[in-house]
């Protein structure tokens, strides 16, 4: 990719008194800064709305997802509510799904679930934060639905042939979260301690949580 082959550079504005928030001149860094400045100047986005959204994004962490799973493992009533209506159940924990619905899929002795978004990269980002790069990659999006066991192997996850692998294809309005099985050897652990072993990748369904 070159940086001078897209679009014309016909304008040369001067904006005294503003100090750009970028310290490098990469093409897309500049583009993001230019978009931010213009949207604020035009009154399309307020600086305050932008700050709130940045703060919210920075406050998202897969740890919140781990807390949901750990509570489901230790509180059967919550687990029922979570499987019944994920969006509503996570609200109890102060988490929001934004405009999308959350569908929680449960791993059992017979079924393993994994999630993908073949069409774009939909992901429960209001709970887990931004998706990892591999989730957005062509490799994962293309292959997860046709050869999930090979994909799982690349993450070091080998499942017995007797286990059904179910792949859930997310969309803009519906996001999935995998409820893994509680690993052996963790009976009697507190929800806090359990939450620590639930990784992001376990909630996407590409690995199993380890005690």
């Amino acid at each position: 990719m070159t940086t001078d082959d897209r679009g014309t550079h016909s304008h040369d504005h001067d904006h005294p008194g503003t100090t750009p928030d970028v310290n490098e001149t990469g093409y897309y860094e500049l583009m993001a800064e230019a978009m931010k400045e213009l949207l604020i100047e035009k009154g399309v986005v307020s600086a305050d709305d932008l700050r709130r959204n940045l703060e919210f994004l920075d406050s998202r962490d897969p740890v919140d997802g781990g807390k949901i799973i750990a509570r489901a493992w230790t509180d059967p009533d919550f687990k029922s509510r979570l499987l019944e209506d994920g969006t509503k159940a996570v609200e109890e924990m102060g988490l929001t799904m934004g405009d999308a619905e959350l569908v929680v899929v449960e791993n059992t002795d017979d079924v393993h679930n994994m999630i993908v978004c073949t069409l774009c990269s939909c992901y429960p980002r209001t709970i887990l934060g931004l998706p990892p790069d591999w989730y957005k990659s062509k490799s994962y999006r293309s292959r997860a639905v046709v050869e999930p066991r090979s994909v799982l192997k690349e993450f070091g996850t080998e499942l017995p042939d007797s286990k059904t692998v179910r792949v859930h294809d997310s969309n803009a309005d519906m996001r999935y979260l995998v409820l893994p099985q509680q690993p052996e050897g963790t009976d009697g652990w507190s929800a806090d301690r359990l939450a620590e072993i639930v990784t992001r990748d376990a909630m996407v369904g590409v690995v199993l949580p380890q005690a």
């Binding site: 001149t25 897309y28 213009l38 990659s137 994909v151």
Partner: protein, 100 residues
């Protein structure tokens, strides 16, 4: 059936690169601008998705947030909020200032 570029299920692709790195600040900026505009109903998620799917293949195959940026410029140009030239011009101005 003709499979469009975004409809990736089943396409040939290589191994998964699972190394992780955090989103860069500019990527978070793009995400947050998009979220703020969604909150105010200026740009809906499905509109952005359509703009992404309509990108030329060489742009669509770029990094995720790079294509988001390109799609947002196009979509907001359609909506009369700015022109691509305006964004490009501002990029040049910022660059000139940084290189001062």
């Amino acid at each position: 059936m003709n499979q469009r570029q975004h409809d990736m299920g089943g396409m040939d692709a290589g191994p998964i690169e699972s190394s992780a790195h955090d989103a860069e600040p500019w990527a978070k900026m793009i995400t947050s601008l998009a979220a703020a505009m969604r909150d105010d109903d200026i740009m809906r998620i499905d509109e952005l998705r359509r703009a992404l799917e309509d990108l030329p293949p060489d742009i669509y195959s770029q990094d995720y947030f790079e294509r988001w940026s390109e799609a947002m410029i196009n979509l907001l140009e359609e909506k009369g909020i700015w022109t691509r030239n305006e964004v490009m011009g501002r990029m040049d101005a910022i660059k000139a200032k940084l290189e001062g």
